[in-house]
């Protein structure tokens, strides 16, 4: 076999797969068309656009730099691929006080504002698709959700029921400083010693803002909704 035939064989065997699973899907996904809502099925018109608020782009960068994706995923798989949707607080809330069962699978519009979807490599910790929702409705009821997250990032093992957590501490995202005048609103409640307080750095603020933006439980258009009819709350 000549070198030319050999290289042709290699190019064909690799190139077909390369076109079929990389290049064409990349181009197709890049121009993903928005999903139209219809009056009949969705009760409203326009396009499906799950809004996110917060420092999504900066926060995603802090998330990436500190390797959160190594232990946390951001995908709620449909039931054919795993049992994520059955958990009471992963795909949304099983019993949202206002909206009833809001659980749904992750869709392609959920990663708006991010360059790389942190699907994640393993689940040493829980899925974070709806972490913002969970913190607000379950972990920090009646408290400031960002305060709860600051404290959790500073020491993930602080709450007695989380003593077994293997999440690293992100103490390095906080600074101890002298209180001059009023103390900071963001200061950690347990970080106060004398006239010193612990406050989150800009990176910690971006990360917490990003984590609170993780609320992927908006109702999806009827054309994308594969779930069974749900009980209204």
């Amino acid at each position: 076999m000549s070198l030319r035939t050999f290289i042709l064989g290699l190019s064909a065997s690799f190139g077909i797969a390369w076109l079929a699973i990389i290049v064409v899907p990349f181009i197709k996904m890049r121009d993903l068309a928005p999903v139209q809502l219809t009056e009949a099925a969705d009760g409203t018109t326009g396009i499906f656009f799950p809004k996110r608020s917060g420092r999504v782009a900066d926060g995603a960068q802090i998330y990436a730099e500190n390797g959160c994706y190594l232990c946390h995923t951001q995908v709620v798989r449909p039931t054919y691929a795993g049992n994520d949707l059955y958990r009471a607080d992963w795909g949304g809330l099983k019993a949202d006080p206002d909206r009833g069962d809001t659980r749904r699978e992750t869709n392609a519009y959920d990663f708006f504002g991010e360059k790389f979807a942190q699907i994640g490599v393993s689940r040493m910790g829980p899925d974070l698709s709806n972490l913002g929702r969970r913190v607000e409705s379950i972990y920090a009821v009646g408290k400031d959700p960002s305060q709860w997250l600051y404290a959790h990032l500073y020491n993930p093992r602080q709450e007695p029921q989380r003593w077994k957590s293997t999440c690293p501490s992100f103490r390095f995202l906080f600074t101890e400083r002298k209180i001059t005048g009023n103390s900071s609103d963001d200061a950690l409640p347990f970080g106060r010693h004398g006239n010193k307080e612990l406050i989150p750095d800009s990176d910690a603020k971006a990360l917490v803002s990003y984590l609170l933006s993780l609320k992927k439980d908006q109702p999806v258009p009827a054309s994308m909704n594969f779930g069974p009819p749900k009980k209204k709350g």
Partner: protein, 500 residues
């Protein structure tokens, strides 16, 4: 052209010695710096694994947080050790098989230093918090062009040597090596341009990243290791390859199946449904090329049990092919949609699979190659049989523990993750596995520190000056010296000033 092939054995030996001498420094540089990176990577592996069971271990320092140490560990392994030892083997083997001396060793050495600079900058970048957050591509985005350019500067000479070689049969090792040389830049450029340079959909970007990881294993590390094993097995045993048509089947089935694999890690994620399922199917089908090559190589090597017990190269290669067989079965059992894939997708099985491929298979074959090549390019024999034995045993024990614990511990972990009626905390069962992994990495580190020292001494040409190779078992019933037979001192080597 056939006149260029020396016909008498003496000329042939001279040609081989000339090729070895022309490549001494590049080959030794890649192997030694690779071994140093390997030791660094394993050290980082120990630290990151210790953090899984003791999260307060070295906590509080941003440089040493788990999310930076772990990527540093795996990237140092791949780009520091894996690629560099692959370069050493590629340049040496293509030169030998093309029967051409290398005329660009200075350039290759320079490019090798640039590669090392790229890897070092990339690792500092990860530690300092400039990681990109894409698994196996965590180096800050300015690093990949540096690596790509130095890659071309290193392997282009091998490609040229292949082009200008004397006409004749193309051996299966050359197929694998050429394949790897073509596939890697294609994969690397695709993944890096699509992820760093062109705006795309974030979920598709994650899919391309998963494909990149799989393609790097199956279209670079696997062909390099198989090409090397196909070189070593007949060379050391003195027997022809068991079945040449099986070898071809193995090569082309790898070439056709492997490019489709990888995206099964995104099963259930919002990308077109066919991508993860094709990925799973292709990974399962990779059983065929892996088993074809494994059977072929084992039939060749095990036919000479007496050589197997003595030759370090052969012993490491056989162990690597053993790793390949486990890898082939794991590829099937860990990737079945609807049964094991949901369990292994997000558990430590993926890490086990990667370490099995990179250490249990690829690195073992590379160790075999190092034990074969170094005495030839330095014209010195390995110093100590005990060091080689220790390297072998501790590595085998270590990698069996790391890979099997992660593979099958990962299955258990996956089962409890999927048990949605239990609270999530109940599925955090990584503790015992992480302890075992830490201990096993310590064994591997111990073995590789000795490997690195042994290799460095050989590069300094402090090896034994003997014409008897260092064998693992004494050829006679009674033991001679612990370092093997003394033999005749080799005074004929190039570079030796004759006393006459």
């Amino acid at each position: 052209m056939s006149s260029a092939i020396p016909t008498n054995p003496e000329q042939d030996a001279l040609l081989r010695a000339g090729i070895d001498r022309s490549l001494r420094h590049p080959v030794m540089f890649f192997m030694t710096s690779g071994a140093a990176w390997l030791a660094v990577s394993i050290l980082l592996g120990i630290v990151s694994s210790a953090k899984v069971h003791s999260p307060e271990f070295m906590a509080g320092c941003s440089w040493l947080t788990y999310g930076r140490v772990f990527p540093a560990h795996i990237n140092a392994f791949i780009y520091g050790w894996g690629f560099q030892v692959a370069f050493a083997v590629i340049i040496w083997m293509t030169a030998r098989l093309s029967r051409k001396e290398c005329t660009a060793s200075g350039l290759i050495l320079t490019a090798g230093h640039i590669w090392n600079l790229g890897v070092s900058l990339g690792l500092v970048g990860i530690f300092a918090g400039f990681s990109t957050g894409m698994p196996w591509m965590e180096f800050p985005s300015f690093v990949w062009p540096v690596l790509l350019v130095s890659y071309f500067a290193i392997v282009i000479w091998s490609f040229i040597q292949f082009r200008v070689r004397p006409e004749g049969h193309v051996y299966i090792s050359q197929w694998y090596i050429l394949g790897a040389m073509v596939w890697f830049p294609w994969i690397f450029i695709t993944a890096n341009t699509l992820l760093h340079c062109l705006p795309g959909h974030p979920v598709m970007a994650a899919g391309i990243n998963a494909w990149y990881k799989s393609a790097l294993i199956f279209l670079f590390f696997t062909p390099v290791a198989l090409g090397t094993a196909y070189y070593l097995a007949p060379k050391v045993t003195g027997r022809p390859v068991f079945s040449y048509s099986l070898a071809k089947l193995g090569f082309w089935s790898l070439a056709i199946i492997a490019p489709w694999a990888g995206m099964q890690k995104l099963a259930g994620a919002p990308i077109p449904y066919f991508l993860p399922y094709l990925g799973a199917a292709a990974t399962v089908l990779l059983f065929i090329p892996m088993i074809a090559a494994a059977i072929n190589l084992l039939r060749t090597m095990l036919a000479s049990p007496e050589i197997l017990s003595g030759s370090p190269s052969l012993r490491f290669t056989v162990a690597g092919i053993g790793g390949l067989i486990i890898l082939a079965f794991s590829a099937v059992f860990l990737n079945l949609p609807d049964s094991t894939l949901p369990l292994t997708q997000f558990s430590m099985s993926s890490y086990g699979f990667e370490i099995l491929a990179l250490y249990g298979f690829f690195s073992f074959v590379m160790f075999g190659a190092v034990y074969f090549i170094v005495p030839r390019v330095t014209r010195r024999e390995w110093l100590s049989r005990r060091l080689i034995k220790m390297h072998f045993l501790l590595s085998v024990y270590g990698v069996i523990v790391v890979a099997l614990v992660a593979l099958y511990g990962g299955l258990e972990q996956g089962k409890s993750q999927e048990d949605w009626q239990q609270p999530w905390q109940a599925s955090a069962t990584a503790y015992p596995y992480a302890v075992a992994t830490t201990i096993a990495w310590c064994f591997i580190l111990f073995s590789n520190v000795f490997f690195f020292l042994h290799l460095t001494l050989m590069w300094l040409r402090l090896g034994r000056r003997s014409s008897h190779p260092t064998l693992l078992a004494a050829s006679h019933g009674h033991a001679v010296s612990p370092h093997g037979e003394d033999g005749d001192i080799d005074n004929a080597g190039p570079g030796y000033v004759s006393a006459h």
